[in-house]
Structure formats: structure tokens, C-alpha cells
Symmetry: C2
Subunit: 392 residues, 2 copies
């Protein structure tokens, strides 16, 4: 009853690359707790990351091992490429337990069974759901193990996308275009913010005529009015007012792959300065996209943006983008390469980035973003949506 | 420009109760990383929990201190009741940093400044987002500190709700009713699962005629067909088929307060056995609701359910509910009291629970849930929605 969305050969390649990295780091195993990495290695897809779970890859075993809650084991059987013996689950008395039981006690038992309990084990020390307690319980249970921080090991394996991954990201881009149009259409004077958010959500999940959308890893963000400088506040009951700038940042999602997109709209007649800022942001992002190609560093792409806007006496030194693709809440970013000063990551074919530069003047913010794929000769944006200031 | 949604006196009471708990645990400070606890103590509300952030409460200081990313400080000024001096932020080079900088290095500096760096500090060791790395960085930065696990300290302070919190939960219940009706109406043979999910989402965010809805902490879950035994899988492109049972679990959300609701619907003519199971689940949940009142233990409420279904030769010993209210992804549960065997928590007036029992027979699952408020004399359900098996 598997509904895995890649063929077995693709999972084999992912596992081989992960094992090669284990070998390079002299690791006997890695305990993967990031839900995106768990999905990447096994196909597992469920909203179960509010309890502890993990995928274990060892240097020797043919398959990864999924470990989770008993009631989620059928979900693992349904969504992963794993055989029955590679799906292990702990009983429900481990969940928010009053009995001093912790799911990582069970994970430690699996590591023992896999004969790596006295080995060198990589942990995703800074992954959102790998808690401090998860770490101390593994330490207590496995006194012979040597632990190392392997936070981004699998994330870096994810950086270059396959043809099938790119196909899903392009499908996500179709959804992003529809959702952005729905948002721009919904925003007008007197309409409460939540109604625009509802229209965007409806489009994100309805998707296209051919396929539906998944839930995105980040909710649609719509800072407006005085709040364009507060990028992570969510919608309220406030009605849009004449004179409001509104930044819309959203992403369609297809089989957990994203293609984020941001645009700015203005309720009423925009001030000339905002129009001018829109032109500068557009010129800047186009310069940065032109600069992106295999062999160029991330910091060189940022520099193309920065030098373009400097012609207009705007100085700004920021992270303007990041590698992304597969994701679960709270984030669609991969936490690997960033388009910012000091990041010397060299672009390679089939990497994918969300580039989201912005300029704020006198409390009015303006953002235009693109998700792009590094091709053999340059950068191809996944969505096709006009780069301009919109008005409502 | 604060948009805090409770009056200052309510935040003062929350802080007083938290400080009383610090005193009982002999703690000089607590570092709160759970976004729901951060909101509870300060009002902070933003989708910024994908980077490290915290609220620090010390035994001596009048106000909590919010610590987050520089670009989120304006969001903290907009949503919290804190004065300017209580909002501290770290620069962007701490974010997914290639420079071996970590946000907890900055948090450690704030703890020093607050003069608790050689004190006894409580940490939410098992909270999502308080990573293993957050812990080791605090340890490295503060060698004189003594750390203790204070994971549920604030969660337990949240257990009894105020009048205003209950008012928001009742508003969330209105949204849940509308969204459940939208889901039941949308599900029919041939309709893809994602279209039902989109209808539910639209209703969740559109809310009611008077107010809109927030994003819920868990996406609408809709296990159907063969998958009613996989409660945490999300929707796909599959069209509903004649003969599909569909469990809908969702929650409206208002100012981050939830009121979850689950119902089961059947595509086509339900088998007699499922009708019978629905009657048993209904009788069981009603018995459990009748049992709930101040002075009764959580395990006694579960026992009322279990003994009712045992009359029909169904044996099942499970967690059937949990305390909840305020929440952020990945969970709306509080992780405190559970309605399950062994939980001796005594119900008190103004606690709130989601009770979600279910019965599975021959791979067909049936769930009916209610969110309830413990009143002075019993249990009042927040939503008003028929308890029955629906058909499409």
C-alpha cells in the first residue's frame, strides 16, 4: 500500500550519498530527526513530528530504519519504501509520559540492536525537533557511544535536485502563481486581512486543474500597513486601508516540495518613491539572477544585487536568499547555502534557491522574490509571475 | 502599536504564577523556548520559531525579556506588552551561521546581564525548538550556571483558563463548527481529497461573519479509505470512493487558541457495523463527559469511557484526551494532563481538554471528539455539532 512518490532507485542514490558522507566523517550511524531528512531518506510523510521520531542510517545496513510512535507505524508502512523489519515503533506510554519513559530510550534500544551503541554516532544537534532531552537521554542510555554533531549532513546531500524533484518544484510553482494571483485579487480597501489569507489558502490547497497542493511549511505571510517591517507577523481582523503596502510571501507545495514567491501590492495610488523602489528591487533581483550560474559563489550573486542597488545610493548587506526545496513546518529552507556576503558555496547545476531581497524606506517595505534552479548555463526561475509593484 | 490581545493585568497574573513556580523549584530564572509559552507570558505572536528565540523570566525582574532575531524585534514590539528594554535581538549572522555563532550565545549574554549566569536556571529540555545544540551552547557559555529541566513548568501554569481565554476558545469552536460542516459538505464520491481539504481551510481562515480564524497548530487531518488507521497522514490527490470511511480532525483557531473537533463520515451506505460502532463511540464519549467534573481524576474519566464500551465487548486502554488551548505548530496539546489510565491529575474548574476516543474494527476507524471546559459542576462542550456518523 506504499504511496512513495519516487522510484526505489532514487532512494538508493540518496542513501548511497548519505553513506558516503558517513564514511567521510568516520561515523557508524546517524540519527536523523529533521522530518524533511526523514522523508528524503525513506519517503515518510505524516504530521507526526510533534512526537519524537527518527530515521537511523548505519554504515552497514542496507535500509534505513524508521522509528516512531506505534500509531504512526501504519503511516510509515503506507508512505515509505522500507521493508517491515525496518519500521520500529514505541508504545504510547512514551508520549508525554508520566512514567519517566522517553521515546529516545526506545531509539537507544534500536541503536543497540543495530550494534552501533559503542560506535561513533552523528546527531542532528540543531534540528528543530531534536530536543535537548533527546540528546541527554541518548547519552544516558548509550554510555559507550561517541556522539558528534551531524546537523546538516543530510541537508547538504539534498542540495542538488533530481529531475523528479525539480518536476515537483515546478508543480509547486504553478500553485504559487495561482495563490499569488488569488491574494492580489482579494486585497482591497475594506477587506479584512483574514479574507485575503483564506483566498490564498484555498488556492494553495486547490492547486491547479490537474493536481492539488500540500500544506506549505510556512503559512502565507502578509505584513501590511505599518507592519511591512515585521516580516513574520500573520494576518489579523484588520481591514486593508487606502495607503497600505502589503507584502505577500507564500509557497505552493507539492509532495512536500516548495517554490516560494513574494510580491508587493499597494492599496490605492502608490507613492512615487515606492514605484521607484520597485524598479530598483526588480533591477537588483534581475542582476542577481543574471549572475547565478555554475561555478559562481553565493556571495558573488549577493554582490550583483548589492552593487546594482548601490547605484541608487542604497546600501544594504544582507542574506538575500537560501537553498530550499523539501520541507516541513516550521521552515522550507534547507539551512545550507545562503546568498550572502561570506558564503563561498559554489553554485552547481540543479541546486535550487529562494532569492528574496527587499528594500525598506521610511517604514514602507518592498519585496520581490523568485525561486530559481541553477541550470547548466544560468538560472531559471520556476514561477512565471510579473516582477512589479501591484495595486489594488 | 501593541496589538496584545489580553489586558496587562492578565499578563501580570500569568507572570506571578510563573514566578511562584520558580520560587517553589528554587530557580533563579527560566529560559522559555516553547512558542506557546512565549506567547502566554508576553503576547508574542509571529511565525519566527524556525529560528532560535526565547523568553527569559527571572525571579527578580519585573518583566520577562524577549530574545529573538533582529528582524523580529519589531514584531515583538508590535505584539507584546513588554517595554523597549525587555526586547533584545541578535544579528542575522547568528542565523544558520557559517561563523560558529549560535543564537544561544547571545541568550547566554542576556542571562549574564540579568545576573543569573551563576544561578539555577530552568530549561525546557523537551520542548520542540529547544534543540540539543541550544543546550550545549548554553552550557559552554555559562560554566557557572546550574541547569535543571523545567520542561512543563509554564505549561502547567497554563492549565486553568481565564474568562478571556475561554472566550477565544469559544470563538475557535464557532470556526470549528463551520469548518467541519464545510468538510462534510465537500466530501463525496469522485471529489479529490485535496478539494475537501481546501474547503476546510477556507472555512478555518474565513472564520465566521464576525471574525476570522488563525492558522491552526495542526493541519486538518482526513484519513480515509484504507488509511483511517493512519491518523497522521495528510490529504492526497486520490478521489473519494464509494465505501470510504473518512475521519475529519480539525481545529478552528482564534488568537492562537484552539477548539479541536473530530467527526466521521462515510461515502455511500455505511455498513451496519459502522453505524453500530458510531452509537457505541457516542455513548462512550457521553459517559466520559458526564463523568468529568471538578474533583474527579483524569483516569476516572477514561474509565467511564472504557467501562461503557466494555459492555459491547470492546476492550481498549488508551489515552483518549489531553489538556489543550494555546498552541503553535506542531501541536495544540499542552503536554500536561492526559485522560488515560494512570493519570491522577484532578480536574479543576476552568481546565480545558480535547477528548478524542475512537474505535477501529476490521480496518475501519470511527472517531467522535469534543473539546470541553470543566465548569463548577461538570463539563461543557465548546462546539455544538451533532454526534453521529455522517454520510456523503
Amino acid at each position: 500500500m506504499s504511496r512513495a512518490i519516487f522510484d526505489t532507485a532514487e532512494y538508493d542514490r540518496r542513501l548511497d550519498r548519505t553513506k558516503a558522507r558517513l564514511h567521510e566523517e568516520d561515523l557508524d550511524a546517524i540519527v536523523v530527526a529533521d522530518p524533511a531528512n526523514m522523508n528524503y531518506l525513506t519517503g515518510y510523510d505524516g504530521w507526526s513530528f510533534y512526537v519524537h521520531q527518527a530515521v537511523i542510517v548505519t554504515a552497514d545496513r542496507d535500509e534505513p530504519v524508521w522509528v516512531g510512535r506505534e500509531m504512526d507505524a501504519d503511516g510509515a508502512r503506507a508512505t515509505t519504501i522500507l521493508s517491515a523489519d525496518s519500521i520500529r515503533s514505541y508504545s504510547d506510554d512514551h508520549v508525554h509520559s508520566p512514567y519517566d519513559l522517553h521515546p529516545m530510550d526506545y531509539v537507544a534500544g534500536v541503536l543497540e540492536e543495530l550494534d552501533v551503541d559503542d560506535g561513533h554516532i552523528g546527531l542532528e544537534m540543531d534540528a528543530s525537533y531534536f530536543t535537548a532531552k533527546s540528546y541527554t537521554r541518548l547519552q544516558e542510555n548509550l554510555p559507550e557511544a561517541e556522539f558528534s554533531d551531524a546537523t546538516l549532513l543530510v541537508n547538504w546531500v539534498r542540495v542538488k535536485k533530481s529531475e523528479q524533484e525539480l518536476a515537483y518544484m515546478r508543480e509547486a510553482a504553478r500553485i504559487s502563481e495561482n495563490a499569488m494571483q488569488a491574494g492580489i485579487d482579494a486585497i482591497e480597501e475594506g477587506v479584512p486581512e483574514y479574507e485575503a489569507a483564506a483566498a490564498i489558502y484555498d488556492a494553495l490547497i486547490t492547486g491547479t486543474d490537474e493536481f492539488g497542493g500540500d500544506y506549505p511549511s510556512i503559512v502565507p505571510l502578509m505584513p501590511s500597513g505599518d507592519h511591512t517591517g515585521t516580516p513574520h507577523l500573520t494576518w489579523t481582523d484588520r481591514p486593508f486601508e487606502d495607503g497600505d503596502p502589503v507584502i505577500i510571501e507564500l509557497s505552493g507545495c507539492r509532495h512536500r516540495y516548495h517554490s516560494p514567491l513574494a510580491r508587493t501590492t499597494f492599496v490605492g495610488d502608490p507613492p512615487a518613491e515606492l514605484e521607484r523602489t520597485a524598479d530598483i528591487v526588480t533591477e537588483g533581483i534581475e542582476a542577481a539572477l543574471d549572475a547565478a550560474e555554475p561555478g559562481v559563489t553565493c556571495e558573488a550573486v549577493e554582490k550583483a544585487w548589492r552593487e546594482t542597488i548601490a547605484q541608487y545610493d542604497i546600501e544594504k548587506e544582507d542574506r538575500i536568499g537560501y537553498s530550499m526545496g523539501l520541507g516541513y513546518p516550521p521552515d522550507w529552507g534547507e539551512h545550507t547555502a545562503s546568498i550572502r556576503p561570506g558564503d563561498e558555496t559554489v553554485l552547481e547545476e540543479d541546486m535550487t534557491f529562494h532569492m528574496i531581497p527587499g528594500i525598506w524606506t521610511e517604514d514602507i517595505g518592498m519585496e520581490i522574490s523568485e525561486t530559481f534552479h541553477v541550470t547548466s548555463s544560468g538560472a531559471e526561475t520556476l514561477a512565471n509571475f510579473p516582477r512589479q509593484l501591484f495595486t489594488a
